[in-house]
Symmetry: C2
Subunit: 270 residues, 2 copies
C-alpha cells in the first residue's frame, strides 16, 4: 500500500517500552496508531496515558484485551464478567474503538461446553459494550492455543458467533499468524464482510522458534500477507493495521531501530 497511514503498533511488539516511550517513539516516526495493553496502562497511569495520547495525536486502534470467558464455576464466571466490564470502560476511556477478545481455553475438561461459555460470555458483555460505545472484537487464535488460550480457533467459529448475535457492536479481529493455514480462510473473510473490525500482521517463520513468542517480522516467513490484506480490504475493512509481533529476538533490538524496521517491512509486505 506504500503508506503508513493505517499502521498501528501493538504495544507488545515493543515489550520493553513503557507507554510514554511507545507514544514518543511512534510520534517521532509519524506512526498514526497504537494498540495498548491494560497492564501497561496500569503501569503508566490512565491520566498520563490520556495526556500523552492527546499531546502526540496518536490514536488507539484497539485495547488488549478482554475475554477468557470459560470459567470453572459461576462465581468465577461473574468475576470474569466484571473484569471484562472494566476492560470495556478502559477501552472507552482511551478512545479505542475495539476491545480485543482472547476468548479463553478449556475448563472442566469440556471443550464443547467451554466453547458455549464463550458465546454466552460475549452475549452477557455486549450490552455494556454497546452502552460504552466500544466494539468487541473476537480474535480467533491458532489451534495450537485451543487448550489454554482460545477455544475459538477459526474465523468460521467467530463468524458463526457474530451471525448468531446480530449486533453491529460485535466483530472479528483477524490476525494472519492465527488464520493463514486455514483452507477456508478466503471464503470466511468474504463471509465476514461488514463485521471485520481489526487486522493484525506479522509472519510465520520456519521453524517457529516458540509458539507464543516466536512470531516473525513481515517478510521473514510463509504467510501471504498481501493476499490476506487484499481479501480483508475487499470485505470492507479499511481501518488500522496492527503490527503484533511477540518475539524474544526482536525484543532485544532498540525500540527506535525496531520501529524503523517495522515501517520498512510494512511498506514492502503489507
Amino acid at each position: 500500500m506504500r503508506t503508513i497511514s493505517r499502521l498501528s503498533i501493538n504495544q507488545y511488539t515493543l515489550r520493553n517500552w513503557t507507554i510514554p516511550q511507545l507514544l514518543e517513539g511512534c510520534a517521532a516516526e509519524q506512526i498514526p496508531f497504537v494498540a495498548l495493553w491494560r497492564d501497561k496502562i496500569a503501569e503508566a497511569g490512565l491520566n498520563e496515558t490520556l495526556e500523552l495520547l492527546d499531546s502526540t495525536g496518536i490514536k488507539v486502534s484497539s485495547l488488549c484485551r478482554g475475554g477468557f470467558f470459560p470459567a470453572e464455576t459461576v462465581e468465577l464466571q461473574i468475576k470474569n464478567l466484571e473484569e471484562n466490564y472494566r476492560a470495556v470502560d478502559e477501552a472507552a476511556a482511551i478512545g479505542a474503538e475495539v476491545l480485543v477478545l482472547v476468548c479463553g481455553g478449556i475448563v472442566n475438561h469440556d471443550l464443547d461446553r467451554s466453547r458455549n461459555m464463550v458465546a454466552e460470555g460475549i452475549a452477557l458483555l455486549l450490552p455494556h459494550a454497546t452502552q460504552a460505545g466500544v466494539k468487541l472484537g473476537i480474535e480467533p487464535l491458532h489451534p495450537m492455543f485451543a487448550a489454554d488460550r482460545s477455544v475459538i480457533v477459526s474465523l468460521s467459529q467467530a463468524n458463526g458467533i457474530i451471525e448468531s448475535l446480530k449486533t453491529p457492536d460485535l466483530g472479528v479481529v483477524i490476525d494472519v499468524y492465527h488464520v493463514w493455514w486455514d483452507p477456508a480462510i478466503y471464503d470466511e473473510i468474504a463471509r465476514g464482510s461488514g463485521h471485520i473490525i481489526g487486522f493484525h500482521v506479522n509472519d510465520w517463520v520456519v521453524p517457529v522458534p516458540d509458539m507464543l513468542n516466536g512470531r516473525g517480522m513481515m517478510g521473514d516467513g510463509v504467510i501471504e500477507i498481501l493476499r490476506l490484506r487484499e481479501a480483508v480490504t475487499r470485505a470492507g475493512y479499511t481501518g488500522p493495521i496492527e503490527v503484533e509481533i511477540f518475539n524474544e529476538r526482536l525484543w532485544q533490538i532498540p525500540g527506535d531501530e525496531l520501529l524503523r524496521l517495522i515501517k520498512d517491512r510494512f511498506l514492502a509486505y503489507v
Copy 2:
C-alpha cells in the same frame, strides 16, 4: 475398551530402541501390533525385520512414511515419487496394510499450489499402491505444521481428496493430537465412514513442551480420546490403534517400563 487386542506401538514412541528391541519388548508384553519407520528398517535390515516379525507373530499396522509431495521442480517431484514407490514396496514387503502419508509443506511460497501438488502426487502414487496391495493413508497434521510438514491440516481436506479420487486404496489416518481442536471433527469423522484406515492416540498436555517432541501420554492432557475413539468406531474403523508419542522426557524412560505404562494408559483412556 479394556483389552490391548488393538494396541499398536509406533516405533518412535520408543525412539531409542532398535527393531529387535522393539519386537522382543512388545512380544514380552503381548502387544499385537507395531508401526515401523523406514529408517529403523534400514538400520536393522529388511530380512532381519521379516524374521523377527515372523518369530514373534507381531503384525505391522502401518509403515511410516511416504508423502512430502510438494516439490520445487519437476525433477524433484519425480525423485520424490520414486522414493514413494520404494516406500510402498517396503510396506508390502513387511505386510503393512497402510503406508502413512505425511503430505509435505509449502514450496515456492505458494500454499494453494502446494496443496494441489499433494492431490496430484497421491493420484500419481495410487496405481503403484493398488498393484502392491498397500493402502495409502493421508494423515492430516496439526495446522502448526502447515508450513514445513503438511499443507493438509484438517480431516475435511483429507476427506475431500479421498472423495475426489474414489478408490478403496486411499484412506485417512486420524491422529488425535493433530485434529482434536477442530470444531468440525465429529462431522468429518462421520463423513470419513468407510475410509478411515488408521487411528493414533496420545495427548495434548498444557503447556506443550515442544511442538514436535512434546506430545503427551494418554490421560495427561486435554484430548477427549475416548469420545474420538467412539466416533471413529461408529464410522466403521475397527483396526489397530497406534500409540504415537514423540516426547523427549518419555524417551528417557527404560523401554520395557514405558511399554507397561502405555498398556495401563491404553486400558484406562482409549
